[in-house]
Structures are given as C-alpha cells and as structure tokens.
C-alpha cells in the first residue's frame, strides 16, 4: 500500500514534469501534479492513522510567571532612562513625518484636462467628427485632437434630437452632446448608453446619469453630474470644444472644490 502510493507519487511527478517539458495541455500537466500530491497526502494520512498512537498524551500547561510589584523590570532604574526619553523618542518619531510627507509632494497633480477652446473632437482612432457623423442615438468615445488617451480627457459624444437637451441647449450643437466618461462616483468609465430613456450607465456600481438633464445622477451611488464638454461647430465644419469640462473630472476628494 505504502509503496504503491509513493510509487504513484514519483511516477505522477515525473510524468507531470515530462508533460510540461513536452508542452502538453496545462490541464494534463496540472492534474498529474495534483495526482502526485494526492498520493503523498494519502500516504501521510494513512501512515498517521496507522500509528494508532494514543491521542491522550499530556503535557502540563503553565501560566506566565508575572512579576510581583516591586520586582518589575523598569526603565527608570538608576536614573538612566528618565521621562525625557519618552519625549526624545516622540520627537524623533514626529520628525520622520517630514520625509514621509515629502514623498507625496513629488508629483503635482495637473488641474483640469487637455481640452482647450477650439480643440477638434476626434475618435479613439484620431478621426475628427462632423455634427452628422454620429447617427441619432449613437455614442462614441472622443478625445481632443492630438491627445488620444490623455489623462481624464476621455468624453462620450452622444447624438440626441436637435432640441432634446433640457439644459445648456447651446452646448450641444445639432444634438451633439459630450460628457466626461469618468464616473464621478469612483472613476469607472461610464460605458453604456440607452437611447430609449437617454440614460448613461456606469457598469461598476450602476449609477445612472440622465443625458437630457446634463448627465445629472438619477440612480445609484453617484452624487455629482458628469462634467459636460461645451461643443461648437468649427469654421471647417468639424465639432470642436469651447473649453475644458464644466467641472472637475472623476471622483471627489476632501480637498477638491466640488
């Protein structure tokens, strides 16, 4: 029995290694390895049970010998460690805050995104868009020209009916309306648009933003509207931005003016 199990373990281990070297399917390699370990498990387990050793060996338990009053080790003995030491250690500890705090200062956070007035609105592929390129009810991810993938600049361009917008009608030329794609809740991309009720959905915690009301949150945990990108039609007929987003992009922190 024992020999069979150990032999199984050895053969399975070697077979697993061989299969791996021969680039066999990982399932084969893995199951052979698992078989080797299973044989070891059964071998050790059955050997333990076969010992029939009593499980009532005993060993005394001791409680820690607690120092009696007057006998306690103390730091103040001989006047070597006075109370001043506590302050000294505290002061050294406090001083370490300076190098720690300096770590987070290394990089300054840019305020705002790279969207500027007159920047052409382009797709992920860098293709500029005309007001009619997006069909009614369509949606696409856009960036400022020359900055595809730039930090926090991703916006969703949605095409609604010409006069559908209920807020800031002037920011949505010919029904082209754009909002930051970064959820104001915890920063996920707001990836899903349903034209039937003009609703944007965040797939992370299911916040819903009502496009017609300026991407105001109407359900889910988000508390702030997605900042809007004011759009216009440029002299060459392409969609352009009229500046940066209408508010701070992405999740809030305690110091951010929201």
């Amino acid at each position: 029995m024992n020999t069979t199990l150990l032999a199984t373990a050895i053969v399975a281990a070697l077979a697993s290694a061989g299969a791996a070297a021969a680039r066999a399917d990982p399932a084969v390699v893995g199951l052979l390895a698992a078989l080797a370990f299973a044989a070891i498990t059964i071998w050790a387990g059955s050997a333990a049970l076969a010992l029939r050793a009593p499980d009532d060996c005993t060993e005394p338990r001791q409680r820690p010998a607690i120092a009696q009053p007057g006998n306690e080790p103390t730091l103040t003995r001989g006047g070597v460690f006075g109370r001043i030491w506590i302050f000294a250690i505290g002061a050294f500890g406090l001083a370490t805050i300076v190098p720690i705090v300096s770590l987070g200062r290394r990089a300054r956070v840019a305020v705002g995104t790279v969207w500027t007035a007159g920047a052409r609105v382009v797709t992920e592929q860098g293709r500029p868009l005309r007001p009619d390129d997006i069909a009614l009810g369509g949606v696409t991810t856009v960036f400022p020209e020359g900055h595809v993938g730039a930090q926090d600049a991703a916006a969703l361009l949605i095409r609604v009916e010409d006069n559908a917008m209920l807020t800031n009608h002037a920011w949505a030329p010919r029904g082209n309306v754009a909002f930051s794609k970064i959820c104001t809740h915890a920063g996920c991309p707001v990836a899903i648009y349903r034209h039937a009720d003009y609703m944007l959905y965040c797939p992370c915690h299911q916040s819903q933003f009502s496009v017609l009301f300026g991407a105001r949150p109407v359900a889910g945990p988000a508390t702030r509207a997605l900042p809007q990108l004011k759009l216009a039609i440029g002299p060459d007929g392409y969609l352009v931005a009229r500046g940066d987003f209408s508010g701070p992009v992405g999740p809030d922190d305690w110091n951010r003016p929201a």
């Binding site: 698992a34 050793a53 705090v101 987070g104 945990p221 110091n255």
Partner: protein, 440 residues
C-alpha cells in the same frame, strides 16, 4: 547516515539536538478544525514559491505588464499553471483564513491569553486581502485596472490625506507612470514580508502558549506528539492543500485576462466584478447612499462611508471582540479549553450576523448580473439588499441564537452520558495520578 552526520555537525556547534528532541516530543491537541489554519499557511507557502517564479517573467512597467502576463498563456503550460496556481492559492488563502477565523470565533479560542494572536490573525486577513488585491491588479487588464481605479478612488476619499496618498502611489495623478511599479513593490515586497513576520509571530505564540483543546482539563495539554504523529498529519495537510489548489488551477481557468484586454482608463468590461474576497467592499459601494455631505466646507465623497467607514467599524468590532466577549460573559480568566459553539448562543448569533452581512454585501456586488438574469430592475435589488443588510443580518443572528440554545439544551440533557476519559497527570511530588477528562 548522512542525516545523522549533518545533525551531529549542527548539534556540536549549536546544541540543536536537545531542541529538536523537545520539539519532537511536544504535544499538540488534535481536532479536524485545527487544520484550517494550516491550509491557509500552506497556501501562503504555495504563493511564495509560485510568486518568486513569476517575478522573473513579470514586467512591472505600464506598457510591459499586460503582454508579460499574456505570454503565460495555455501554450506555455508551465507559465500558465504557475500563474493559475498563484491566483487560485490567493483566493483559497483568504477563504481558509476566514474559515479558520470563524472556528476561532465560535469556539471562543480568542479568550485570554490569546487576544494578541486573535489581533495578529485579523491583521493577517487584512494583509492577505491587500496582497490579493494588489496582485490582482498587476496584469493591468481592463478588469483589474478598473478595480484598481475604484480602490484609488476609495483611497482618495480618506480625509485630507487622500490626495496625498493617491499622489504617492501614482507618482502623480491617476493613472500615474509609477502606479504599477509601486503596486508591484508593495505586492512582492512590503506585504509578503509583513505577512511572513506576523505569521512567525502567530505560530511562535501558538507554540509558546500551547494550542487550545476540546478536552476539558485546563491544567494539561491533551493530544499527540509532534513526531511522528503530528508531522505526518501536517504533511497530509500540506499535500491536501497543494492537491486541491493545483487541481483547481488545472481545470478551472481563473482571471482570463486575454478576454478582458489591456487596461485603458476609458474602457471597461461589463459586468465588472472583483475577486471574491473584495466583493463585500464592492457590494458596499453599490449599496452606499448617494450622499455627498460637506464638513467645514469640504466635500465628503460618497465612497467614504461604504468604502472606509464601514470596513473600519467592522474591523474595530472584530479586533475588540475578545474584550467585548469578556465583558458580556463577565469572564476574564485564562482559558485553554475550547467551548462548543452552542455554549454561548448569543455568540453564535453575533457571528452568524457578521457572516450574513458579509454574504449580503458580496452578493450585492453582482446585483447587475442578478437583475439581468431575474428580469428585475437593479434599483429594486438594491433596496432588497439594503433591507437584507440592515434587518436580514439581525434576523439571521436571532435565528442562529435560538438554534444554538436548543442545541445547548439538548447537549445538557445528554451531557451526563458523554464518554469519560481518564488521563494521567503529574502531581507535585513527581508521581502520577488519574484525572477524569470529559471530552466535548
């Protein structure tokens, strides 16, 4: 022959022989539930071994990370298996810790003198979860990148130091160029070293204080010797852990990053659900109220409450539990003997309520998929989950309390009939005397 020589070499120089002899003779109490912690320990061993291997193929740069993990595909059976085993051990690791902790809780093993080890255990759970989360983020795929962004948003919601901490980790605003390198250092260095340290303390304290037992004699440890009895058992525990994890890794693919694609901050797979142990936090974010208060003119982000306050409170309650329990039982004495869970029905109730809260929040993390499958609106599910979190936990706690007190009543009726075991105990004169031990 050779082992004897090596043994002698060290014995002559360090006196290890006597230490080993004592260690081999040491008595450990035996019960199936005492192996739960060992499963966790051996998962950690597996994680370290596979993790070291992975450090040689992983590229922590922003552009190199995803391709370097993608290269460990099915056509590279070794790389594929090692990554799969690593991820599977991580999820089993956290599960084993939680089940082990539940055993400690329900049998009251946290009582004096083991409060310190209880707290170390909680720290280990926190560290294991953080290590899991940071490791999950390393492949830089669309799913984990999204999880990392949510995590960074929660970090950002820390009062006043949030932006600083986020800057620190990102090396700038999210997603900074140093984010992955920093997460990598944290994952392969800081957290594992901390875990190894605390694990040594955890087990050192176990040896020092001696393991608890079910046999009802406070003055002696009743159990088996380390060698060969317990040694064989722990080999079996190791083998069982490896067998299960490797078999899972071979058969069920975990985290198929090739299906998610590389992370771009504006792209996300749908549905977006994290590894199971992070689910309760994701669920909490989904159920959290849509409120943004202002404190002294500062906005308090909505994620602050479910993302930091809720887990903070949960952690504080669990850390303080040995003292809360001591107060409720008016019992501050030393205890080395475990109680059956039913001995304190209200403790069963509290434990069941806490576990239920975790389960409700974890389930809430998939509410979008449930809504889709059940054809109900998500808002309705959120309401149901909120009610379940607020009242379902209490209801389950009450039912568990009643159930446990019924068990206790039955146990008391049959208690007198339970088998009696006699053990030999050394008395002060050095002789032996018989002492009855009633096994639980």
């Amino acid at each position: 022959m050779i082992t004897r020589r090596v043994g002698r070499f060290f014995d002559e120089r360090l006196g290890t022989g006597a230490v080993l002899r004592a260690a081999f003779k040491k008595i450990y109490p035996d019960h199936w539930s005492f192996y739960l912690g060992e499963f966790a320990l051996y998962c950690f061993v597996l994680l370290v071994v596979t993790g070291v291997w992975l450090t040689f193929v992983y590229d922590p740069s922003t552009t190199g990370a995803y391709p370097s993990v993608l290269a460990l595909g099915r056509n590279d059976p070794i790389g594929y298996l090692i990554r799969q085993v690593h991820h599977w051990s991580a999820v089993v690791f956290v599960a084993a810790i939680i089940v082990h902790m539940a055993r400690i809780f329900f049998t009251a093993a946290f009582r004096k003198p083991r409060e310190i080890n209880w707290i170390i255990g909680i720290l280990l759970l926190v560290l294991a979860s953080l290590t899991g989360f940071t490791g999950y983020s390393l492949p830089n795929d669309a799913l984990s990148g999204t999880g990392l962004r949510i995590g960074m948003s929660v970090a950002l919601s820390m009062p006043f130091i949030g932006a600083w901490a986020s800057n620190l980790v990102n090396g700038g605003a999210y997603p900074g160029p140093l984010l992955l390198p920093h997460i990598y250092t944290i994952h392969v260095y800081f957290l594992p070293v901390l875990i190894a340290l605390l694990l040594s303390l955890h087990m050192g304290m176990l040896v020092l204080q001696k393991h608890t037992q079910f046999a009802r004699d406070e003055s002696v440890v009743v159990g088996r010797r380390f060698f060969p009895d317990y040694f064989l058992r722990t080999i079996a525990a190791f083998g069982a852990t490896v067998t299960v994890v490797v078999a899972l890794a071979a058969v069920i693919e975990i985290n198929p990053i090739e299906r998610f694609g590389e992370y771009r901050y504006w792209l996300v797979p749908n549905p977006a659900t994290p590894d199971w142990y992070a689910g309760w936090l994701d669920g909490a974010l989904r159920l959290g109220p849509a409120v943004e208060w202002r404190i002294f003119g500062h906005p308090v982000p909505a994620v602050f409450w479910p993302g930091l306050v809720l887990p903070g409170i949960a952690l504080m309650v669990i850390v303080a539990w040995p003292w809360i329990d001591a107060r409720l039982t008016r019992d501050t004495a030393y205890h080395d003997v475990l109680v059956p869970p039913s001995a304190a029905p209200w403790r069963v109730g509290v434990g069941a309520a806490l576990l239920t809260a975790g389960v409700v929040l974890t389930l809430a993390a998939t509410d979008d998929q449930q809504a889709l499958a059940l054809h109900v609106p998500i808002a309705a599910l959120v309401t149901v989950d909120r009610l379940a979190f607020a009242f379902g936990t209490i209801a389950v706690g009450l039912v568990a309390t009643v159930f446990a007190s019924n068990v206790r009543a039955r146990r008391d009726r049959h208690g007198a009939e339970s088998e009696r075991v006699i053990v030999l105990v050394r008395n002060e004169q050095g002789g032996f005397e018989e002492k009855p031990v009633r096994s639980a």
